[in-house]
Symmetry: C2
């Protein structure tokens, strides 16, 4: 039971990772595997004799330490994460599917606003079976700056949507992004209370009052 | 004994690493230590929870994977190398000191043309005790492109020096750099014969004929 009037919100913008989908384990694995394997590969491929006479700068550039490394790391990490999604290493949070169903069945619009890539988000939505309930999907592919910048939420709000709007977020960066876009924020799966947010114990507490 | 007329050369441009100084071990150690420690440090410092809600790109940028990484790697590798120099992990090749002394004592000019940094080269010259015999020191700090580009040799040749000039090199990149600057090249410490070079067995074979 909660005292907040959740009924008034017509458009619900949900963050994905950490909010609807429990993907921390898969993301953590993907980052560690990328950092470990990519750098181990660089080290194991390295033969000093191939670079005799070269300047140190040219050796490291040749090994990929410049923009190239960043792009490669991103690509490899995303591939690892998507592999873990298909291997079933993510799950939907308790009550999330039911909340989305209740919202859609009571005439609300449900959209996703995520700092993830479009490919990763789509894969997760399909895997979790919640894609049919989603009206719009805003991802990091659509804007320049991810969360905590308000760009993702501003982009979602720039479309024709029904007011009032509420955001649902779990992370510090996500809450700031929504607040920076002047949105009320339902805060879920948090360890400590973030000022100005609407904290809830579980998705069920929202379903009860709709 | 050699059939080449080494006596005619008035200016001798010596490469440093692999030619006068046996520094492969120290350079190899420094690269491996940099690649291992730097990347291990990134991995051990990484806590996924600190980046929740962030885009993958912003996580890797924050971890230093962009231009920053290149600069850091170069700096750390140079520091490791200089540490190994002071720890005595480099040595001068047999006959090198004697050849430099003979050249200087017979009125030749001896200079260094190296793809190393000025700080590392100076440290090595001091450690090996050959700095007093060196007239000029051209390093990667002086030009944009290292070897095999001819820039280092062209820069050395742009100064007022007495012709004829000869280069002394060990590596493929070094030989190409000198040849690209239209210089005859004495090739030392090689595994296979490089076309167009003057191969020698040892520095002693030059000393004998001077």
């Amino acid at each position: 039971m909660t005292c907040h009037d959740f009924n008034k919100y017509k458009t619900w913008l949900f963050d994905l990772d950490g909010t609807l989908v429990d993907s921390s384990y898969a993301h953590r694995l993907a980052y560690h595997e990328t950092l470990n394997n990519r750098t181990r590969q660089i080290i194991s491929d390295f033969r000093y004799d191939d670079y005799k006479g070269w300047s140190t700068e040219e050796v490291f550039i040749s090994l990929g330490f410049r923009d190239y490394t960043l792009e490669t790391m991103i690509k490899i990490k995303q591939e690892y994460y998507r592999k873990y999604v298909t291997l079933g290493k993510i799950s939907i949070f308790p009550g999330a599917t039911e909340l989305l169903e209740t919202l859609v069945n009571t005439g609300r619009t449900v959209s996703i606003v995520t700092g993830s890539s479009r490919a990763s988000a789509t894969l997760a939505l399909d895997y979790l079976g919640i894609r049919p309930m989603i009206t719009d999907l805003v991802t990091t592919d659509d804007v320049k700056q991810g969360k905590p910048a308000p760009d993702l939420y501003r982009y979602a709000l720039s479309k024709r949507i029904t007011q009032p709007v509420v955001a649902v977020e779990d992370s510090l960066a996500g809450v700031y992004a929504a607040q920076n876009a002047q949105l009320p924020v339902v805060h879920v799966h948090y360890d400590s209370f973030l000022p100005g947010t609407i904290p809830i114990d579980s998705f069920d507490s929202i379903i009860e009052v709709l």
